[in-house]
């Protein structure tokens, strides 16, 4: 692997940018591996990286039906925070946040993690009470979160219109360690680092079946590029997890919905942080390229189309125009949808399935990007050892049968 450094960038910059090599190999599928990861997004690529790096499993492959990062990894609004309500969730998401803080160094790849602060607005008395409860719960759990008055919120984000709107801002919760990262760089950085450790990253390879032996354990997969044997399979296929797991007769408590986002034309740096509003439903940040990145809500119905209704995006834009009147004349460049897999309690499922050798990492719903490093780290542990890491042990598939739900529905930053 060609390592990046300030010196190497400078040298190649002065010599016409010649001599750069591809960042990862275009691997052909082999007949057998020690483990397979289905899904080449951030969670799947990260899992392969941690399997190779921390558990010594290097003869493994990531199977991706399109190109890596083409699913929700490349479609989300890149917001990172860990201010979840329940101790189980706060521990899992804060584990991810701590890994984000060292990720560029660990991967030798700039994921452009920027801790610019995530400001979550309260517009009603109920919002205020819920937000303060979150602040207190987070602080008790060792996760930074603080309550700001409307004037303090405006000082932190000067563009914010706190008074002259239908639902005035009554205060805000601020997580200063939160922020954004470059989503594509996360996929590319993990792919590059995993590849350097010997992992095969196989694109344009769609899994069409899961093979099982007489005892029911997994033997391998059938793909559009032939059959591949492996005794362990980890599925990180986001919105298509139900489709993959049905190949092994595993039913999941998942429903897949379209979630839309949009970006504006690029402008000069104008927006200093991330702002989210649950009540009037919008979230916004500015990318380093200058585009305003705006998240809308999910559509009402399940779908696999990767698109949604325009009334959903216009609803989000109406809220943005209320909160930030100076954006009213901005033009939107693109909008798109991703398919998110939502569980009944809005918490992920990371762990074993009833099928021996088959593991699943799914149910991240509308907010999986922020968890990418933590999710990948504990999922790799689970696959390597055959049992969950302490951080993901509450996030089992069995919790729905046993009644141990982790009901984070109220803790989402916006109501989807």
């Amino acid at each position: 692997m060609q390592r990046f450094s300030g010196l190497s960038l400078l040298r190649r910059g002065l010599t016409g940018q010649r001599g750069w090599q591809p960042q990862w190999r275009h691997a052909e599928p082999q007949a057998a591996y020690d483990a397979l990861i289905v899904g080449g997004g951030g969670h799947g690529l990260g899992t392969a990286y941690y399997l190779a790096r921390e558990h010594g499993l290097t003869h493994i492959a990531v199977l991706e039906k399109g190109w890596i990062g083409s699913g929700n990894t490349g479609r989300n609004t890149t917001i990172i925070r860990s201010n979840y309500l329940f101790p189980e969730s706060a521990a899992l998401y804060d584990h991810a946040l701590k890994l984000w803080e060292g990720l560029s160094q660990a991967l030798n790849y700039n994921v452009m993690f920027s801790q610019r602060g995530v400001l979550m607005l309260a517009h009603t008395v109920h919002d205020t009470q819920v937000a303060k409860r979150h602040v207190h719960a987070n602080r008790a759990a060792g996760v930074d979160n603080e309550w700001l008055t409307p004037q303090q919120a405006k000082a932190f984000c000067p563009l914010l219109n706190i008074g002259d709107i239908r639902y005035p801002v009554l205060g805000a919760a601020l997580q200063r360690r939160g922020g954004t990262a470059r989503h594509d760089a996360v996929a590319w950085g993990y792919a590059r680092a995993a590849d350097a450790l010997g992992v095969d990253i196989i694109e344009n390879c769609e899994v069409t079946g899961i093979r099982r032996d007489a005892a029911g354990a997994v033997e391998g997969v059938e793909t559009t590029r032939g059959a591949i044997r492996a005794p362990r399979i980890g599925v990180a296929a986001a919105g298509h997890t139900s489709v993959i797991l049905r190949m092994a007769d595993v039913e999941l408590p998942l429903e897949s919905y379209p979630l839309q986002a949009l970006v504006s034309e690029p402008v000069k740096p104008v927006f200093p942080c991330v702002v989210m509003s649950n009540t009037i439903h919008a979230y916004i940040s500015q990318s380093d390229k200058g585009e305003l990145v705006i998240g809308a809500g999910t559509d009402a119905y399940t779908s696999y189309t990767q698109r949604g209704g325009p009334h959903i995006t216009s609803h989000a834009l109406e809220a943005i125009c209320e909160l930030f009147p100076m954006f009213r004349r901005m033009r939107m460049l693109r909008c798109w949808g991703g398919i998110v897999d939502v569980t009944p309690d809005r918490s992920p499922i990371i762990g074993r399935t009833p099928v021996p050798g088959l593991y699943v990492n799914c149910g991240w719903g509308t907010g999986g990007f922020k968890a990418t490093p933590g999710s990948a780290h504990v999922f790799a542990w689970t696959i390597a050892r055959g049992e969950p890491h302490p951080l993901n042990s509450p996030f089992t598939l069995e919790r729905f049968r046993d009644g141990n739900l982790i009901d984070e529905a109220a803790a989402a930053a916006v109501a989807h």
Binding site: S242, A300, P310, F400
Partner: protein, 96 residues
């Protein structure tokens, strides 16, 4: 935005409707005799079909009534809508 054919009112725009999830999920007739696995199935497990999906809608800002629909979740095209209590139209089933 979807155009949805209410069996009572005809074709109307999506914002008049509320989605009601998967159709034909029957509550166990004798709850006391149902074990945890069966409750899990009833409460949480859903087909999440990629393809033809039988689902409930309610014409909330119209006649107010529930009805069922068959929709292809790979294109969002409605194949049929039908009244509660009726069987899913067989002709529409499996067509893409």
């Amino acid at each position: 935005m979807l155009l949805i054919e209410c069996p009572y009112c005809g074709e109307r725009p999506e914002p008049e409707f509320v989605y009601g999830g998967q159709a034909h999920v029957a509550r166990p007739r004798e709850p006391a005799g149902v074990d945890a696995e069966q409750w899990t199935h009833y409460l949480y497990l859903r087909d999440n079909a990629r393809g033809v999906h039988a689902e409930r809608w309610r014409h909330a800002h119209g006649c107010g009534r529930f009805f069922n629909a068959l929709r292809d979740t790979t294109s969002d095209h409605f194949l049929a809508t039908y009244k509660v209590g009726e069987k899913p139209p067989a002709a529409a089933k499996g067509s893409r």
